[in-house]
């Protein structure tokens, strides 16, 4: 018996037989794919299928560290994530589901003069585009986060921080489930345990997909598979400038609430937040080699714990409870790849690196607009894969990753 069917009374989305034809097939049942499906259904697109090789939210959607923010560096990036943040603020109401959104504020710590300069640059770009960000100094940092070690004891003392008050955390699984429930209610078919094994292209145009549960004919296929984007794009014969890197995180045992902001340090390659359950969630930069393995490693725990203690020495005797890894599809300019490709009807939503979850609602809206109207929305026009052929890169490396 199908496990989803077993818990019948509590089911938030239904099981369907795979039909022979759909108007739109979305590959990947994560937050992005489900958000697109929901927005397409809202626009009146009748037959939409979301194909997930595992269970929904099994990939990056269930493995990210739930941070939402808009304090990017490029005007293209800031405008895009600003809209994502605005939609997140009203998402619980839109989807009728408690998403536990906590806009507690986001601090990007600067431990060097160069980092202070980057913080100023980001603050200026943000404010020009209407995003609340400013540079603050140790006295104010200390008031926001008294547990932070602001002394000159660490090798790299904290000099300043980029403070982004609307940044926060939102429950990642709830976002996935809320989108799935609403999409299902509006007639979207969510197919779990359904792996796409091929994309059928005839005369430069998408004709269908082959899956582990039979062939489907469709004119539109969207790849929303994060770390596996290269593989799905290859099925359609589309080349992508992507390398897949693992990213790891861990949580400690639960503590009383003591950390009321999100801390990020590019110098220490670490970021820290406290979850609603009290666990201290600590993440790191991407692993320095490419891999499709989601296993966690001891080396990561050692290095990341050591760096976290530079910021928060009071965590010294706290036990690590759980660790995990996920896959990031990293692009050369640390900006996503969204929109049309050379294959008519094959759309990309990938290259999300470490910043996919925070873009979810605006990805749903813009990709659904693109599919529904055939016109590329202004917000995502800079992120087309063609930017690499035209040398119009959108360099977000200074603001997108903790490693830079």
């Amino acid at each position: 018996m199908h496990p989803v069917r077993y818990f019948k009374p509590w089911r938030m989305w239904r099981h369907h037989d795979v039909e022979k034809t759909y108007d739109v097939v979305i590959v990947g049942g994560g937050a992005h794919g489900l958000a697109m499906a929901y927005e397409l259904a809202k626009r009146g697109v009748k037959k939409v299928a979301v194909l997930e090789k595992s269970y929904i939210g099994a990939g990056g959607s269930g493995r990210n560290t739930t941070i939402v923010r808009a304090n990017y560096r490029t005007p293209e990036g800031v405008a895009f994530y600003k809209e994502a943040l605005r939609l997140y603020e009203q998402l619980a109401q839109e989807l009728d589901y408690n998403l536990l959104f906590s806009q507690q504020g986001h601090l990007t710590l600067a431990h060097a003069e160069r980092a202070v300069n980057v913080a100023h640059e980001r603050a200026e770009v943000n404010r020009l585009l209407g995003v609340d960000s400013r540079v603050i100094y140790p006295d104010e940092i200390g008031r926001l986060c008294p547990v932070l070690d602001l002394s000159d004891r660490p090798a790299f003392p904290i000099m300043a921080a980029l403070y982004h008050p609307p940044g926060g955390v939102i429950r990642h699984d709830a976002v996935v489930w809320a989108y799935a429930r609403q999409a299902d209610r509006m007639g979207v078919h969510i197919h779990q345990d359904t792996e796409v094994t091929g994309v059928v292209v005839e005369d430069g145009r998408v004709a269908g997909v082959r899956t582990s549960r039979g062939d489907i004919s469709t004119r539109v296929v969207v790849s929303a598979v994060a770390g596996w984007t290269s593989e799905v794009a290859r099925m359609a014969g589309v080349r992508v400038p992507i390398v897949t890197h693992p990213l790891q995180a861990f949580v400690t045992e639960p503590l009383k609430p003591f950390l009321h902001v999100i801390l990020v340090s590019a110098t220490l390659h670490v970021y820290v937040s406290q979850t609603d359950r009290g666990e201290v969630l600590i993440g790191s930069e991407i692993e320095p080699y490419s891999s499709y393995s989601q296993a966690s490693t001891l080396n990561f725990l050692e290095v990341t714990a050591k760096h976290a203690l530079e910021l928060l020495p009071m965590l010294g005797r706290v036990k690590m409870m759980r660790a995990w890894g996920g896959l990031c599809d990293v692009t050369p300019d640390y900006s996503p790849i969204m929109g049309l490709t050379d294959v008519d009807g094959f759309l990309l939503d990938g290259g999300w690196g470490t910043y996919g979850f925070k873009a979810t609602p605006i990805v749903g809206v813009t990709m659904a607009d693109l599919i529904h109207t055939g016109r590329v929305p202004d917000l995502i026009a800079p992120f087309a894969v063609s930017r690499f052929w035209e040398r119009r890169l959108v360099s977000e490396i200074a603001a997108a990753a903790v490693s830079h």
Partner: protein, 97 residues
């Protein structure tokens, strides 16, 4: 990064001693078109399976060498210096053109 890499000079060492140099690429030579240069600069196979790639023994002999690694299991089946003959049983990376 918890696997071993066999340096052609120094033998098996922890992967932490090495720096990753990415999958092998075919350099766009003189007279290449802009598109060929762009492909060489940015576009990658990113195989989920066996991949031939560059590693530097950073904390050892500082040699750049080639390794055939499975990108899902991180198993390394062969390492060899650049310029040496590729192994007879070498398979092209999965999905490679």
């Amino acid at each position: 990064m918890t696997f071993l890499i066999t340096c052609p000079n120094c033998g098996p060492r922890e992967a932490l001693e090495f720096s990753y140099g990415g999958e092998i690429t075919r350099r766009a030579g003189p007279g290449s078109s802009s598109a060929e240069l762009t492909g060489y600069l940015f576009f990658r196979e990113n195989a989920n399976g066996w991949q031939t790639e560059w590693w530097l023994h950073r904390d050892g002999c500082r040699m750049w060498f080639l390794a055939e690694r499975h990108t899902f299991t991180n198993e390394i089946r062969r390492t060899y210096p650049p310029g040496s003959e590729p192994p007879v049983d070498a398979q092209a990376p999965e999905g490679a053109a």
